[in-house]
Amino acid sequence: MADILLVDDQDRFARLLPRAIPEHRFLGPARSWAEAREVLREERGRIDVVLLDVHFDIPEAELVGFEEGMSAKAVDGLRRNQGLRILSALRRSHPDLPVVVMTSREGVSLQELGADEEYTTFLDDDDLDAQVLRSQIETMVAARRGEETDGAVFWGTGLAMQRLRQRLRVLARGRLPVVLLGPTGTGKSLLARHVVHARSGRGGRFVAVDLATLPSDLMAAHLFGAVRGAYTGSVGDREGAFEAADGGTLFLDEVGNLSSDAQKMLLSVLQDGAVTRLGDLKERPVDVKLVVATNEDLSARVRDGTFRADLYMRLNPAVAVTLPSLVERQLDWTKLVAFLVEQALARPYLRDLVDEYAAGVDLPLRRVKSHVGSGTPERRPRTLCLHFPERTLRRLRQHPWPGNLRELSMVVENAALFALSEAIGVEAGERPDVVVVRRKLLDDLLRGPDDGPDGAGQRLEVHITPHDTLNRVAVSCETQYFTQLYLQERGDFGRMAALLLDDPEAGRKVQLRFNQLGLKVRELKARL
């Protein structure tokens, strides 16, 4: 529940709002700036949002800006725009208090009023109804209360991202599919799991399928299931992803990779609410919230005939949610990096390193925290602090981040890993409770594959967690080697085969292994 101050000379909204939006508490109406200021003083920071009318038909002495000797016309003008005068006064005393102004923004200069778009929203009367206002209030309240995260998702306080969050929450509750668009690494799968599934109110499982890694001849069986003998090698009945996600959410990543057969079958499931396993006649009802993601232009695929138009329309494209790239987001880098550091420090292999470091410097340890940005980390009992100083943070801000949030997350995790590793065994300085992530380390981590000296081998960073099997370690090395080789050979599988297998004709074999490792050609092509 939010506390909302209504500033309006009339009492109609004061009567309407509690009934139309009963989940919030409405105070007022304050009929002038003097009354509004008094309520704000009495409530001492408890007001979450101000709802402000513009036309105030009040005695002239109560008008902000009134001066003796003003003409009747000037006073009328003052009354008609009194809300903007109040907004200007409000901004001087409460610069970051969210305000919804109930009028069109036509002809209004926010700059002249000392206001900004971050905390000021204009709702044209023609757009203003209970639903719009409710949504606006919730968005602003979430931003104000610092609700910057949803589990593993960092939203920040920017209004654009808060609006996106609000929209996803609304879409999560509905029955229709949700389409997530945006460049690679922007967090589409995180949103599918931590926002859409989490907010859907569905008790079933969250099942994710990456269609870029599924061979097209196995796609239909994987998604819809199969009975024994349905295809060569089908030795028993198997449940598909749709049945596994029954009552829950099915996330199809890279939906543009759906084979034409699978497209046809998916359309049928969406139309009938039932799935038929390959080779079976029996329909099995399924209740699945479908979320699909792609960084392709599906409408273009429809136009060129490679994606079914009827399926495209069934996916609810009109309300597709597009995620911005990292550099497009107005970010509070300090908070984002701190969020990612905390996430990284929760990983068991890093906790092991932290314990090892603490034991080496005789630091009794209860918790690990981060300090990002300027200033010296505060000394706290039994606490180790991982410090990203301002210079290191600046280096992060300067990077173009083609891999977006995923890349940043990996760099931050690597930075934590190497900073801790390098500190182990080194004699502790004055502050053994602080491990600093230096800019030099970031320079090394952010150096691209082409930045190395000619002829020198490329460095591979291998992520290993305790108890990893030899197979996992090998796969991790192989994945990174394949990635670098693909970039080096400009995506030519024949040349890769010549190097790897001494057989330029074996490109298909290399591509198959490439797919098995979960590497995505489309994503790597974007880096060429």
Binding site: D9, R12, L16, A20, H55, D57, P59, D125, D126, D129
Partner: protein, 135 residues
């Protein structure tokens, strides 16, 4: 043009907005009685200010006068809608509350206010000054 646009803005705000406000904000499950009460408030207590309560008819006549002064005459849709609203409010005032005639008058008033809202929006758009040429 600017004076006309200012007048159009005031008209859309004072009548387009307030003569329909409470009716538009009613929840979908509101009863017929609630709808009628909201409509009566919209039409008969449209504005409150230092001069007291004014109904939509009085406000409509004031705008008709202002429009006439600026040369906007009969036949213009917003003028027709204003006259329609003024007549509907007069009919509503004359009807005895609770009678079938009053129910019909409320309905007539709601329709006239909705028509005025549409006409005032179009009028506002037609008086909007052109965007300055960026070149």
């Amino acid at each position: 043009m600017s004076e006309l646009h200012d007048l159009a803005k005031r008209l859309h705000h004072d009548l387009g907005k307030y003569a329909t406000l409470q009716s538009r904000w009613l929840p979908p499950d509101a009863s017929i009685e609630e709808r009628e009460e909201a409509a009566r408030a919209d039409l008969l207590a449209t504005a409150r200010g230092p001069d007291g309560v004014r109904d939509a008819g009085v406000i409509a006549w004031a705008f008709l006068e202002d429009l006439g002064r600026l040369g906007v005459g009969d036949g213009v849709p917003v003028v027709v809608a204003l006259r329609g609203l003024a007549d509907a409010v007069e009919t509503l005032r004359a009807a005895d509350e609770g009678t079938a005639a009053a129910h019909a008058a409320v309905q007539g008033g709601v329709e006239a206010a909705a028509a005025l809202r549409t006409a005032s929006r179009a009028f506002l758009a037609s008086t909007r000054p052109p965007e300055p040429d960026p070149l």
